[in-house]
Amino acid sequence: MFGMYSELLYLPQEILTLISSPPLWGMLIIGVVMGYVIGVLPGLGPTMGMALMLGIVFRVPVDLGLALLIGILVSSMGTGGITASMINIPGTAAAAATCMDGYAMTKKGMGREAVGLVIFASAIGTVLGIILILLIQPFIFSIALKFGDWEVFLFCLFGIMICGSLSSDQPIKGWIAGILGLFFAMVGIDEVQSVPRFTFGSQSLLQGIDVVAALLGLFGVSEVFFVLKDKQSYAISAGSGWPTAPFKTIKKNISNIIRSLLAGMWVGFIPGVGESTACWFSYDLAKRYSKEKGMFGKGSAEGILAAEVADNSSSVGALIPALSLGIPGSATTAIFLAAMFLMGFRPGPTLLLDSPGILCKISVLFLMATFMTVAVSYLLSPFTIKFLSIPNEYLMPLIAGFCVLGAWGSGFLVFTVVIMLIFGIIGFVMKLRNYPVAPMVLGLLIGNIMDVHFRRAFIQYSTEPLGLLMRPFGVVVIVILIVLFILGLKTERR
């Protein structure tokens, strides 16, 4: 039992190393402030913010790169609800459910309380989520170590299926996006037998499609096009003053907080689904179990707490499949995973063996970023209205410039920047036609993993292929896949 928690032995060392490093605090502050701006400004998002930094993180020391990314992630996830409460437009997609009660509370003259509850809920969701991950990680990694090639292949397929089902009201569109992502991932030299695939004679495509450039295109450039499609139309009302979070309200909502934490972690754990589903799932659960159902949508503190705790705990929960299997639980974790690969880590069942202490490092950084986010949010939220006044016609071209620089920085080839632009157009068209982008990102990241593990599994079981289909976990996942497919088709018909 003690051996399973050997990773936690690195915790004191990591705490001391990280909190005593001034450059790390500096980088964390930069990340948190950037994340705050990204979180409150509608049209941006943590995925875009982190994707912009991808071309940068592998050029700085590992600790600083992780601090920057985690600062952006924690802060942007925690502050989207502030804008949702102030002007009824979520700063991030994951804060959509917060609009329901946050804005209603502001209209009743309780804007400070709404923002205070958002800040508190975001912090508690992240902190409790991290503690839970540290407690359950030995079990997760020991299960992951038992995964063979076939199980990894099926889990990837499960991820694409469920991501496609849940990220769109037309599951077929989600599945098409996921499959196209899988296809894009297979461009280049095949990892099993070095066969060039879909290169069309191009030397540049032999290395495959640059994931950083593709992500910058799908999340950065496509969002620039999408935001500029419409003229800025939201009306900005006055600021709210210093935020408050009444202790009495929090004490009354302890069971709601725990339920939302677990709901968020569970949704985050499912590959590719993401925070935007978690907030609605948790909001719905809170409404069902509430003794004051009628207050929901009219300024209920329960609703704000449920949405924000789940939104933040899901981004922590998404780390579980990402770190233990190398399969991202959400689009933001996909970027985080890409960054970890760039920094030389190998997320997967052997991560803790190859890089002991990494889970503790990430956990401590998350906790540091959370506390810093609370401080920054508290100080900056009264002035948030000024950020919201920045016109899109100034902000979006700057973001496009960052995307070009980021894509250039990842490959130092104009071809990489062209790939970014092509994926930007693809992402824009997808958004126009209501195709979700998250399954394509998931497909891009796990396509090669799926292909390699599938072929290796069959090579291993070449003498008794039926034995492959009879592996217990495989049977369970195949049944779930069939059920998901049938449910998805039924949803299409409605």
Binding site: I176, D190, V192, L405, G409, F412
Partner: protein, 189 residues
């Protein structure tokens, strides 16, 4: 499930205006076109997958097929083709007709996007040909000017607006072409 070869009056309510019905039919046709495009993409992937070279190391029997580099892409392409057909057929159902909106496409938005896309494409194509800082400066000036001047209310003070745009563009160009590359020790194109 009833499939309709065209959109008969039984599905669209009689009290809808002629214009709304026309827009709705156009939307349904756009959704069908989307299904056709997806199917074509599937066929393209299928063709290129089948034409992939064989593995250098061969296995006997069914294993030789399953472990080919083109096997998974072939299966994926077949799935896309099936989904493409499903999209085409499902856009004729009453549920899909109901889902189709009657909002007209915004011509202004289309022009704005075409302009932004065109300018960004030119920016990317000229990378490495023109000095990056100058290119970035011109890009910001032109695109911000276009976006700003496509709004109303600038004619009375266009000089000050333009000067503001130039100042902001210079700041942005300095950030993108000098500050960030210097901080990150990045060689610019």
């Amino acid at each position: 499930m009833k499939y309709c070869p065209s959109v008969p009056d039984g599905i669209l309510p009689h009290n809808r205006s002629v214009e709304q019905r026309r827009i709705k039919i156009m939307k349904i046709n756009a959704d069908m076109l989307e299904g056709i495009v997806v199917t074509i993409i599937g066929f393209i992937i299928l063709t290129t997958s089948i034409l992939l070279p064989e593995n250098p190391i061969r296995f006997e029997g069914w294993l030789g097929v399953v472990v080919q580099a083109g096997f998974i892409p072939t299966i994926l392409s077949l799935i896309i083709i099936i989904f493409g057909f499903k999209l085409i057929l499902s856009n004729r159902t009453p549920a899909a007709v109901k889902r189709a909106t009657t909002e007209k496409a915004d011509r202004g938005a289309a022009i704005r996007i075409a302009a932004v896309l065109g300018l960004t494409t030119i920016y990317v194509v000229l990378l490495g040909i023109i000095n990056f800082s100058l290119l970035s400066l011109f890009y910001f000036i032109i695109i911000i000017s276009y976006l700003k001047f496509s709004e109303k209310g600038w004619k009375s003070n266009w000089v000050s607006v333009f000067l503001k745009i130039v100042l902001i563009s210079i700041t942005f160009a300095l950030i993108v072409a000098y500050l960030l590359p210097y901080m990150l020790r990045l060689q610019v194109p």
